[in-house]
C-alpha cells in the first residue's frame, strides 16, 4: 500500500533572536497510510505541533522532504488538508453555518451546494438546529464540534488535529472522542491526531507515534492491536493497559 503522507529526514531548526539555534525536530522519518488513524503523543516541547505545521504547510522544513501521495508537498495539497486546533477558533461575527462555510468561501466554491452539506454535518455532530446561532451562544464543547464540521466541509484526505480536546472537561472529552471515532469510520479520511494524553492516543489510534523532546524526535512507533469499533469498556482491558504502559515507558526514561 502506498502511504498517503511520508516524511523523509525532516528537520526543523528555529533561530532565536540571539542567533541561537534550537532544533525543534531532528531527522523525522514517518509514513502515514491512507485511511489510518495515527496519534502522536509526547510532552510539550517535543515538536509535535511543529510537525503538524510542517505538514499543513504553515512552516517549511529546514531539511528533508515531505511527500503527499507520492508528490512533493506543495500549495496544491492544501485543499486536501484540514486542521482542527485546541481552540475552536470560530469567527464570532458569523453564525455557525457561515463559520462552517468559511473554507468554501475562501476557495470560491458554490455556497448553495455546501450549505446542504453543512447542515448534514451539523446533524452528524449532534448540533441540528444550531446553524443560525452565534458561536458565543454555544458551549465550548459545541464550538469544538462546529470546528470539526468546518474541517470536514472541504472533504479532506487528511485531517490534522492539534490537541483538539485538551481544553475540554473529561465528560465532554469522552463524548467528542466517541464522536470522532464515529465520524472517522463513516468518512474514512486519514487522521493525524496530536495529543499529550496517552490514554486518548491508545483509545483512538491504529498506531501511536511516541515523541521525545530536546531535540524533538520519534522515540518509537507503537501498534495498537485493539479491535474496532473501539468502546470505552476497552479502556479498562488488559491489552489497553499493556499498550499504554509500553508508551509510558518511553517517557519514564526522560
Amino acid at each position: 500500500m502506498k502511504p498517503l503522507l511520508s516524511l523523509k529526514g525532516v528537520e526543523k531548526i528555529y533561530q532565536t533572536e540571539s542567533r541561537e539555534e534550537i532544533i525543534a525536530l531532528s531527522k523525522i522519518d514517518l509514513e502515514i497510510n491512507d485511511g489510518e488513524f495515527l496519534a502522536i503523543v509526547g510532552p510539550s516541547g517535543c515538536g509535535k505541533t511543529t510537525l503538524l505545521k510542517l505538514i499543513s504547510g504553515v512552516l517549511t522544513p529546514t531539511d528533508g522532504e515531505i511527500y503527499f501521495a507520492g508528490d512533493a508537498l506543495g500549495i496544491s495539497h492544501r485543499k486536501l488538508l484540514a486542521m482542527v486546533f485546541q481552540q475552536p477558533a470560530l469567527l464570532p461575527w458569523r453564525n455557525v453555518l457561515n463559520n462552517i462555510l468559511l473554507p468554501c468561501e475562501l476557495r470560491g466554491q458554490d455556497l448553495k451546494t455546501y450549505t446542504a452539506e453543512s447542515l448534514e454535518l451539523l446533524k452528524l455532530v449532534g448540533l441540528e438546529g444550531f446553524a443560525y446561532r452565534k458561536p458565543q451562544e454555544l458551549s465550548y464543547g459545541m464550538q469544538q464540534r462546529v470546528a470539526i464540521c468546518r474541517a470536514l466541509i472541504s472533504q479532506p484526505k487528511l485531517l490534522l488535529m492539534d490537541e483538539p480536546f485538551a481544553s475540554l472537561d473529561t465528560f465532554t472529552r469522552l463524548e467528542l472522542t466517541r464522536l470522532l471515532l464515529e465520524i472517522w469510520s463513516l468518512k474514512k479520511q486519514t487522521v493525524l491526531f496530536v495529543t499529550h494524553n496517552i490514554q486518548e492516543a491508545v483509545y483512538l489510534a491504529d498506531r501511536v507515534v511516541v515523541m521525545t523532546p530536546r531535540p524533538g524526535r520519534i522515540a518509537a512507533i507503537v501498534d495498537v492491536n485493539l479491535p474496532r469499533p473501539r468502546t470505552e469498556e476497552q479502556m479498562y482491558s488488559e491489552d489497553f493497559s499493556k499498550c499504554a504502559k509500553t508508551i509510558h515507558q518511553f517517557f519514564r526514561k526522560l
Binding site: S56, K134, Q136
Partner: protein, 257 residues
C-alpha cells in the same frame, strides 16, 4: 430573573442623579444670590438657549461641521495608515514610533502654527480636529490588527487564503472592537480640537462665541455655548456606541461576561 422595578434600573438612577445636581445648582444660586455673570442657574441658561437660539444655531453649524469633517478625515486616515503600519514591520519601527513620539507634544500648542500654515479659515480648524482624533484611531487600528488570534491566522493560512481575503474576512472584522474603542476616544477629543482652534483664531463658531461672551461677562450665553458643546460631544459619542452595537455586537457580549 424577575424584572427589576423601574426605579432600580441604571438609566433611571442616572437620570435621577442628573436631576438632583441640576436642582442643587439652581437652589444654591438662588439662596446665595450668585450674580449671573459669575454662575447662572440652569433655568437662566435654558432661557438663554431659547432667546439666543438663532445665533447659537449658526455657531453650532460652524463648529459641528468642523468636528464632523475633521473626525471623518481622521477616521479614514487612521484606518488606512493603521492598516499599512500593521502590515509593515519597517514602517512600524520607523513611522509608527515617530508618530508616537509626536504625541508627547501638547497639540493645543500647534494651533497657532496651524493658523500660520493654513490661514485663518476653515482648513486650520479641520486640521486641529484631525490632529486630535487621528492618533487614537490609528493606534487602535494597529493594535487591533496585530492582536488577531494565532489560531485564526493559521486557519487562514491552512485554508490557503490570500492577503486580501484574510484581511477582509478575518483580520479586519476581528480588529473592529479595538478600532471602535479608539474611535470613541477620538469622538470626545474632536470637540476639544474644534474649541481650541476657535479660541486661537475665529470669527464664528461656538468656541468663538464662548470666548466673546465670557469677555463680555455674559454668563448665560457663555454657559449656553458650553452646554451645546457638551451636547455635541455626547451625541458623537453615543452615535459611535450605537454603531458599535450594530456592527460588532459580539464585542459587547464578551465584555458582559
Amino acid at each position: 430573573m424577575p424584572k427589576k422595578p423601574f426605579y432600580h434600573t441604571g438609566s433611571f438612577l442616572t437620570f435621577l442623579s442628573f436631576g438632583f445636581v441640576l436642582l442643587l445648582w439652581e437652589v444654591l444660586t438662588r439662596i446665595f444670590k450668585i450674580p449671573k455673570w459669575l454662575l447662572p442657574g440652569p433655568t437662566l441658561i435654558c432661557r438663554e438657549l431659547w432667546n439666543s437660539a438663532g445665533i447659537l444655531w449658526q455657531n453650532t453649524l460652524v463648529t459641528g461641521s468642523e468636528i464632523v469633517q475633521g473626525f471623518v478625515l481622521a477616521l479614514i486616515g487612521g484606518i488606512v495608515l493603521g492598516t499599512i503600519i500593521a502590515y509593515s514591520p519597517f514602517l512600524e519601527k520607523t513611522l509608527y514610533k515617530l508618530l508616537a513620539a509626536t504625541q508627547a507634544m501638547p497639540k493645543a500648542a500647534l494651533a497657532p502654527l496651524l493658523v500660520i500654515w493654513l490661514g485663518l479659515g476653515h482648513p486650520a480648524k479641520l486640521a486641529m480636529v484631525f490632529l486630535m482624533c487621528f492618533f487614537p484611531v490609528m493606534v487602535s487600528m494597529v493594535t487591533g490588527l496585530q492582536s488577531t488570534s494565532r489560531e485564526l491566522l493559521e486557519l487562514a493560512e491552512v485554508l490557503g487564503s490570500n492577503w486580501l481575503q484574510s484581511f477582509l474576512k478575518i483580520r479586519f472584522p476581528a480588529a473592529l472592537p479595538y478600532l471602535i474603542s479608539g474611535v470613541k476616544v477620538a469622538a470626545s477629543l474632536s470637540v476639544v480640537g474644534a474649541v481650541i482652534s476657535e479660541f486661537v483664531n475665529a470669527d464664528k463658531g461656538l468656541g468663538y462665541s464662548l470666548l466673546v461672551s465670557a469677555a463680555q461677562l455674559n454668563g448665560p450665553l457663555t454657559f449656553a455655548s458650553v452646554v451645546i458643546l457638551a451636547a455635541l460631544g455626547v451625541m458623537l459619542f453615543s452615535l459611535v456606541s450605537l454603531l458599535e452595537k450594530l456592527i460588532c455586537p459580539w464585542a459587547r457580549s464578551s465584555l458582559d461576561k
